[in-house]
Amino acid sequence: MIIGLDVGGTHTDGVLIGDGAILAQVKVATDTGNLFDCVWACLDKLTANVEPGAISRAVLSTTLTTNAIAEGKLEKIGVVVSAGPGIDPANFQIGSHYYCVSGSIDHRGREVQPLRAGEIEEIADIFLAQNIRRAAVISKFSVRNPKHELEMARILSRACDIVVAGHSLSATLNFPRRIVTAWLNAAVHPIHKLFFEAVKQSLKSKGFEIPIYVLKADGGTMSFEASINAPEQTIFSGPAASVLGALPFASRQGDTLVLDVGGTTTDIAVFAHGTPLLEPLGGEVSGRKTLIRALKTSSIALGGDSCVEVVDGDLRIGPCRFGSALAYGGSHPTPTDALFVLGKAHSGDVDAARRGLGLVSDRLETGLEETARLVLALSCRKILRAAREMIEEINGKPVYTVKELLGGYKVNPTEILVLGGPAPYLAPLIEEASGIATCAVPQWHVTNAIGAAMAKNTSEVTLFADTERGLALAPEEEFSRPIAKDFDRKAALRLACELLHAKCLKAGASSECENDLEVVEDSQFNMVRDFCTVGRNIRVRVQTRPGLIEECRYLSQSFFNCCVLPECI
């Protein structure tokens, strides 16, 4: 049996899955002030009457780190950057303990200007004096040569308990994003560690010594142990949980559009042949661009609780939201009220919904039910327009080879999956508006928790080799090795796959993980100087994609069977 648990902004959902069915499901209101009690209440209910030995794993997706950032409840972090020539690093200041120091490394990873140890020592003294116990160190091109970051970390370790080095978090070239990512890692480190140790301890005291996994923003899981040093990966795992929950129902052949209709917003994601698409570089956290691997999602300010109004004779929905629907005691008419008017929803104040939408229909000079239909149709059109824009953006992403430009893959959805409260009612309307086969995801109330439960590990390894420098480097793995002149792309790929395999196992993947290794980047350039080839410049990136763990891959049929879809409009 598997536990999946998703702490959302308003509700915390949990499911217990086993024998191809949902054995138990819980929904409690989220208490942001005390996430632990809330998580524990859920776990307690799910594990009631369950043999401790029967549970094989528990996967948690929480808003813990997300909330901490939103509320600014973070520890003070010292940030030290070494940039060298380029954009003034003062532009990337984050936090109030930000220091720029000497030193420079070039694009090939060669040291141009050494660090000045004295400068770092002085900063260490300041950190000691100000009681700054956590720091992030970042140097430009550290992913080509981590020397300066390692040196800074070594000196600062006399003042700080934890020093995060940028190169260990991502091998992607992007200095400003590396700064933000390292800062986030250091900032959420303590709360993440404290929380999950408490969860593990509590389960243990109840006799459940089960492996705990944490959901990441890219829709993959990592073991609790692996998460301790990568807590930034858990920020914004919420959308990933829902998207993963839709995955069992997606076709493996064509492309799928996933629409998660919430109260305030609708989140949009895309599967290409059954694999969720990722952000090219990383997600955004509180308006700051990062290198945190994240699912590609787009959000439109339109949901079941969006305000419906008439402006200059035109119907308008969103982007504002004023509490819940009238049917649930809110103050403004909403698309949810339209469902009540049409008799598709019952457990609320139907009369309030009719009264509120009645005012809208008066102003439109249309019948009440017709108005309700107009509201839902417009909502669907707006969501679809946002989805089309997102697909255009994905297909418009620049590529750098002739081959890809002429023959590159273009996303073209052949099916739509809808989740969230009003999913079954909206699905036929979306199908009508888009002309694309649309269905509501079964168990749409707890898709997120199911998604968390079923998610498998994702890992990535980037290897950079320069035969002129005689070096192969996988910065995130702290791996470097001398290589011979004849080291080539094939050897690099082999090496990267070995490193990835080891990484996957360490992060809690099953041993079958090599079955879905994917090569994301595989390029080799001859380096020519004075008309002679002097070496090869090789860049290789391999990953395991987000997806479902083996035992859950064929669950979709049984979920369909045990779930009765409501009658559609």
């Binding site: 532009n91 350039f525 380096m527």
Partner: protein, 437 residues
């Protein structure tokens, strides 16, 4: 967070799978380190800097500019179409006012490609700036355009294409042709009889440094642009004036290029040459992008940049001042020369040999232009390549008068095929292109 003062667009197309040949300067590796530097600096994340996917130029786009022998696809690869399409994309976005300025960081380059194309010369097959400009004129009704070519090599292809066009100002600043390929670009080359003075050449002595380039900019280029009043300024932004470039002999720098870009304020910059792929291009391209965006570039520099060491000698300064003086005087005389020529109503002819170094072809050309008081003048080119093809090409300019147009069709219709493999006509008044064979 950084945000750009001007909304700018970038097309970055390094063609990582295309080379002239494995060790040629124009090879896969050329923009690899530029990519690394641009990515690592996070330039594409800056608010107001947008990256576009290149368009793919069409055969029709090429036919507005060139006479390709035997035809367009015979002398280009997909990479050329993408490179020209990259420039076209940036131009369109500027004309649509989606961006204020843009930079097509594309390869292969194009500024050595002339109106008639038998093959590749100076690493260029088709002229990507001219293809863009003629597309913008066709699609957006742009009229007056200025091209400032800052590649170290004389932009002889662009000069050839606009030699007879009084509405296109072509200014080339480059290393003196006596010391570098293609061996042209002297102040005495100032345009055809109907367009005298709208070609300006500024040949600079070897080892010209930042000071010299900026002097030329302030004292010749900017004042001339001011008077010409173009709707669009295009910079053929070759980067081989750099002190570390392996195939040239100048002392320009990344900081200098950024400064030049910031003062020139081109609407569209298009990458041309530049083969110091590790020591110069990464820093120069970052500098140019920041300068276009209106952001601070003062801390951009090569690891070994030392302005004191690069300073030019007084003799170089004197020679540059003389070049500037000469070109200003030509610019001033231009209108009078045009006036004198145009009323003669006859055909002016010139005969030339054109060397295609990349493809090793020698072309012999006889070019005749009708001196015309009312338009750019009918242009007829009889061209023979030593590999055997001979063609006759008739070009009717964009704003041709009825007389020139009529004469053009008459030449096309009445010339017999004897001796010619193909006879072309390019009618820019109707945007049509035909050939007989």
């Amino acid at each position: 967070m950084l945000s750009s003062r001007n909304k700018i667009g970038l097309v970055f197309f390094p063609a990582f799978d295309w080379a002239i040949d494995a060790t040629h300067p124009e090879r896969e590796e050329r923009l690899l380190y530029t990519q690394d530097q641009v990515f690592e600096e996070g330039l594409l994340d800056i608010e107001g800097i947008v990256e576009f996917k290149p368009d793919i130029a069409t055969v029709r786009d090429i036919q507005r500019v060139h006479f390709c022998v035997p035809d367009e696809l015979g002398v280009t690869t997909q990479s050329h179409l993408i490179s020209a399409g990259g420039a076209k994309k940036i131009g369109s976005e500027v004309c649509e006012r989606n961006i204020a300025r843009g930079f097509a960081l594309v390869r292969p380059p194009g500024h050595h490609a002339m109106r008639v194309v038998h093959g590749a010369r100076g690493f260029c097959n088709v002229n990507i700036e001219a293809i863009m400009i003629e597309y913008l004129r066709h699609a957006y009704g742009v009229d007056r355009v200025a091209i400032v070519d800052t590649d170290c090599h004389h932009g002889d292809g662009t000069q050839d294409i606009y030699w007879h066009d009084p509405d296109t100002l072509f200014i080339s600043v480059h290393q003196d042709g006596r010391t570098l390929y293609p061996g042209t670009g002297f102040t005495s080359e100032y345009g055809g009889p109907n367009a005298a003075g709208t070609t300006i050449n500024l040949p600079l002595p070897p080892r010209t440094s930042e000071e010299g380039f900026l002097y030329v900019l302030e004292n010749a280029i900017l004042p001339i642009l001011d008077e010409f009043k173009p709707e669009l300024i295009i910079n053929s932004a070759g980067q081989d004036n750099h002190y570390s470039d392996p195939i040239t002999d100048m002392n320009f720098s990344a900081h200098g290029y950024a400064e030049l870009t910031s003062r020139l304020k081109p609407h569209i910059a298009v990458l041309e040459g530049g083969y110091s792929i590790e020591s110069a291009l990464p820093y120069m391209n970052v500098g140019i992008i920041l300068a276009l965006a209106g952001l601070d570039y003062s801390q951009i520099g090569e690891p070994d940049y030392n302005p004191e060491q690069l300073r030019q000698g007084p003799e170089i300064t004197r020679r540059i001042e003389k070049v500037v003086e000469e070109s200003l005087s030509i610019w001033k005389q231009g209108p009078q020369i045009r006036q004198n020529n145009r009323h003669q109503g006859k055909f002016f002819s010139r005969e030339r040999h054109i060397f295609y170094d990349t493809d090793r072809i020698i072309e012999t050309q006889r070019e005749s232009v009708r001196a015309c008081p009312d338009c750019g003048g009918l242009l007829v080119i009889d061209s023979r390549a030593d590999r055997g093809s001979r063609i006759l090409a008739v070009h009717i300019p964009r704003k041709a008068c009825a007389k020139c147009r009529e004469a053009g069709y008459q030449t096309f219709d009445s010339t017999g095929m004897e001796g010619f493999d193909r006879i072309f006509i390019q009618d820019r008044t109707t945007d049509e292109y035909f050939f007989r064979k």
